[in-house]
Every structure is written in structure tokens, then in C-alpha cells.
Amino acid sequence: MRMSINSALGNIGRSTISFLAALGRVVLFAFETFREMISGPFYVRELFVCLVQIGWLSLPVIGLTALFTGGALALQIYAGGARFNAEAVVPSIVAIGMTRELGPVLGGLMVAARVASSIAAEIGTMKVTEQIDALVTLSTKPMKYLTIPRVVAATVAVPLLVAVGDAIGIMGGYMVGISRLGFNEAAYIKNTVDFLHTWDILSGMIKGAAFGFIVALMGCYYGMNSSQGAQGVGKATKSAVVAASVLILISNYILTEAFFTK
């Protein structure tokens, strides 16, 4: 009994320590990224390519996610609101729910699935095939050439994706509201616009920037630290997506506390 408690405590202790150590390495990696960002050279072409890959090519995924989420949200709020005769709140709650929470969080998670995985796999493959070593010998810092364009691109692109997602999500709610719940078109739009504040949208976009940063950083970190072989790359990819998703959810809570509690 005592033994098993001891070993259980030991396990908890060990995994806590290794978690903290991993966190420390990630924070160091983030600091190094910032430090390398200050000075040139800047790889503008690579940044542009990353913007297209991370931002533009994520649009369909984000759009679909937002459209169906907005629609489902409208149905749920209608059903919930009916319990105390408040069906009229559907437009405003859909708008606030999308812009403050679901837009950034679901958008961030979809980008984590799509982008963190592909960054980790790409950089991990480069690592195990010595392409990262080759970069160094060609007088190019992998941090500047690979990490920074990806991190900057994701930090810039994800807020914009969130904004697009917000709009599409609200539209999804609108479509369901009109066709299934019997709302009046003009009234729905007026309700949405009247209740929505700039800060609702802005706070969601700030969250998006944080999530984009997390996604790209995790992809690069796990890719750069990938161990040898295809198995190593597979593990790096998985770890990047899991770490990015968890960090998104944790930081979402922290940011929500910071933004909306007084």
C-alpha cells in the first residue's frame, strides 16, 4: 500500500518535472525566436509563401467549421432560450459566442490540426534528412529561415482567419435563424449589429494572434527537435498538434479572464 502510494507520488513527481522541463525548453525556444526576430536578414519571400500556406489555404477549413458551428449555435440557443421565453436573444448570443469564443478557439484548433502538423512534419523531415544541417553550412540560420517566417505568418494570418470565421459563423446562424427558426431577416441583422461591440471582435482577433503564435511555435519546436527517422517525424507531428491544442485551450481561458473579468 505504502509502496504503491509512494510510486504513484513518484510518478506524479516525475511527470511534473518532465512537464516543467519541457515547458522551460519551449519558453527558451520562444525567447530565441524573439531574439532572432530583432535583427536581419529577413526572408520576405519565405514569409509570403508561409502567409499563403497558413492563411489563404486554411480559409476553406475555417469557413466550413464556422458555418456549421454558427448554425448549430443558433439551434441550441433557440432551444435553450425557449425555456424562459427568450428566443429573441439568438442573433446577439450567436454573434457574441462566435466572436469572443468559438471563432478564435475553433479556428485556432483547426489551424493547429492543419498547420502545426504540417510545419512539424516538414521541419522534422528536413531535420532527419540533414537539410537543417545543410542550411547552417550554407550560411543560413534555420531559426531565421524556417521558424520566423512561419511564426510571423501564423501570428498575422490567424486573426484574419478568425475575423472571416466570425463573419461566416454569424452568417450560418442567420441562415438557420431565417430558414428554420422563423426570424425576420431585417430584425435578425439589426439585433446582431446593435448588440455586437468592437471589443467582442477585437478580443477574439487578439486571441487568434496568440493562438497562431502558439501553433507555429509548437510546429517549429517539435520539428526542430525531431529525432531520427520516420518514426521521429511522426512523433514530432503528433506532439506538435497535441501541445498546440492544449496550449490554445489553456491560454484561451487565461485571456478570457484577462479580457472579461473585472
Binding site: P41, T129, D133, L138, S139, T140
Partner: protein
């Protein structure tokens, strides 16, 4: 010019290098031979700082390499990696001209492309391959593209990690001539790793044989041919019996 003093390197319990001493003079061509997995590639990576030795010193022009400016070193350096290490997201010519498309040596696209095509010709590749991606080439062609990239910026120090593997005998001869030419005409300092004895004879000023984590034997080609060191003779003659263990 490049000196290794008592360099040790291990991965966990695997003690790969156990005190390597070696030096290469300026404008000289050193060839490292030795069994597969003895740590030849690791020696190069230690010199480049891609792997940190556990012990020992590496000197460049008599100065500890950790205190010298690595950027200056890499600016005059080229390397052919054993696996090629071509960037698969870039076309062949962009790979070859990588250094000339960015950084201090930046040239216009057209200039860089012309230089790349010229270098591809040196390694026996036609201009048509310039716009292909590395994945569309055969293994031997990739190796040669990688070689072209290594020599593209006319480096003064060059490392070749098995430049001949995967090449047919004729192409192998062409590459040997090319390496010799780079060392003689461009007065570059070269370290080459190879298993191919004909290329050892073609390109070496000095040969060093790595065995069991140390330089077992070192000397010129003539000395190599006359040596009666049992390890060396077993290796160059490819005998399965001798002091070097073979596991079957």
C-alpha cells in the same frame, strides 16, 4: 589549418570517437577512410559545430573553433552531405544557387541561375535538370546536384561525405577528377570521406584511417601502398579475415 586534438564524442553509451587527432594543411586534400559506422561523418559534424564533442579541441588556423566567427567560416565553406540533403521544396538550380539567392553573396536571379547551370555542367548534369525538383532525380543525380551546391560559391574549404556512392564508374571518375581539380586549381582545402579505393588514390594528398574511435593510421598514398599495418591492408584489400572484426 584544421586540427583535431583528442576529440571524443559519444551518444549515450555508444563511444564513437575516442580521442581523434588529425590535421589538414591549407590547400591539401585529406581522405578519411574507415569502416561503416566508425564515426567518419561525425568527425565532420564536430568540426562544423553541428555536433558538440564531449572532450577535446578543434582548431582552425591555430585558434579554438568555438572562439572563431563561424559565419566567416561558413562563408568560405561548402559541404556535400552523405545523404545529399537537398532542399526538396526548391528546384535544382535554386538548390545549387542557394547561397547566391540570399545573404551576403546575393546576385540577381538570372546570374545565379547561370552559375548554377554552369556548376551542374561541371558535375555532368544537363541544363534540363535545372528546373526539376530533387525528388524527380535519381539518387546519383541528386548526389551530383548536392556536389554542385557544395562548390557553387567557390569555397576555400570543402568537405565531401562519400561523393562517389551511387555513381557509375565513369561518373565516379569524373567526380574524382573534379575534386582533384578543385583542390589543385582552386587551392581549396578538402576533407573527403570515401569507401572507394580508386577515389582515395585519385584525390588524396594524405590518407587517415579511422578505426575504433581513433585514427589508426595516417600517411601519403605511397606510404599507404607500402604499409604493412594489418588493419590498413585488410581495409584497402577488402579481406574478410584480419584484425578488423566482421560480424556475420
Amino acid at each position: 589549418m584544421i586540427q583535431l586534438q583528442n576529440v571524443h564524442k559519444s551518444f549515450g553509451n555508444n563511444h564513437v570517437l575516442k580521442g581523434v587527432n588529425m590535421d589538414v594543411g591549407k590547400g591539401k586534400s585529406l581522405v578519411i577512410i574507415g569502416g561503416s559506422g566508425t564515426g567518419k561523418s561525425i568527425i565532420l559534424k564536430c568540426i562544423l559545430g553541428l555536433e558538440k564533442p564531449n572532450q577535446g579541441q578543434i582548431l582552425l588556423h591555430g585558434k579554438d573553433i568555438n572562439r572563431t566567427n563561424r559565419e566567416n567560416f561558413f562563408a568560405r565553406f561548402g559541404m556535400l552531405f552523405q545523404g545529399g540533403a537537398l532542399f526538396d521544396s526548391l528546384t535544382v538550380w535554386q538548390n545549387v544557387a542557394f547561397k547566391m539567392l540570399r545573404g551576403k553573396l546575393k546576385k540577381t536571379n538570372a546570374e545565379a541561375r547561370n552559375i548554377a547551370i554552369e556548376k551542374l555542367r561541371h558535375v555532368g548534369l544537363k541544363p534540363e535538370v535545372a528546373d526539376k525538383y530533387p525528388a524527380e532525380l535519381s539518387g546519383g543525380m541528386q548526389k551530383r546536384v548536392s556536389l554542385a551546391r557544395a562548390i557553387a560559391a567557390n569555397p576555400e574549404i570543402i568537405f565531401f561525405d562519400e561523393p562517389n556512392t551511387g555513381l557509375d564508374p565513369i561518373m565516379s571518375g569524373v567526380i574524382n577528377d573534379l575534386i582533384r581539380e578543385i583542390v589543385v586549381e582552386m587551392k581549396a582545402t578538402a576533407i573527403t570521406i570515401t569507401h572507394d579505393m580508386s577515389s582515395v588514390r585519385a584525390i588524396a594528398d594524405k590518407v587517415a584511417m579511422l578505426h575504433d574511435g581513433k585514427i589508426r593510421w595516417t600517411g601519403s598514398i605511397e606510404e599507404m601502398e607500402q604499409s604493412d599495418d594489418p588493419y590498413l591492408t585488410q581495409f584497402i584489400n577488402g579481406h574478410s579475415h584480419g584484425p578488423i572484426e566482421t560480424i556475420r
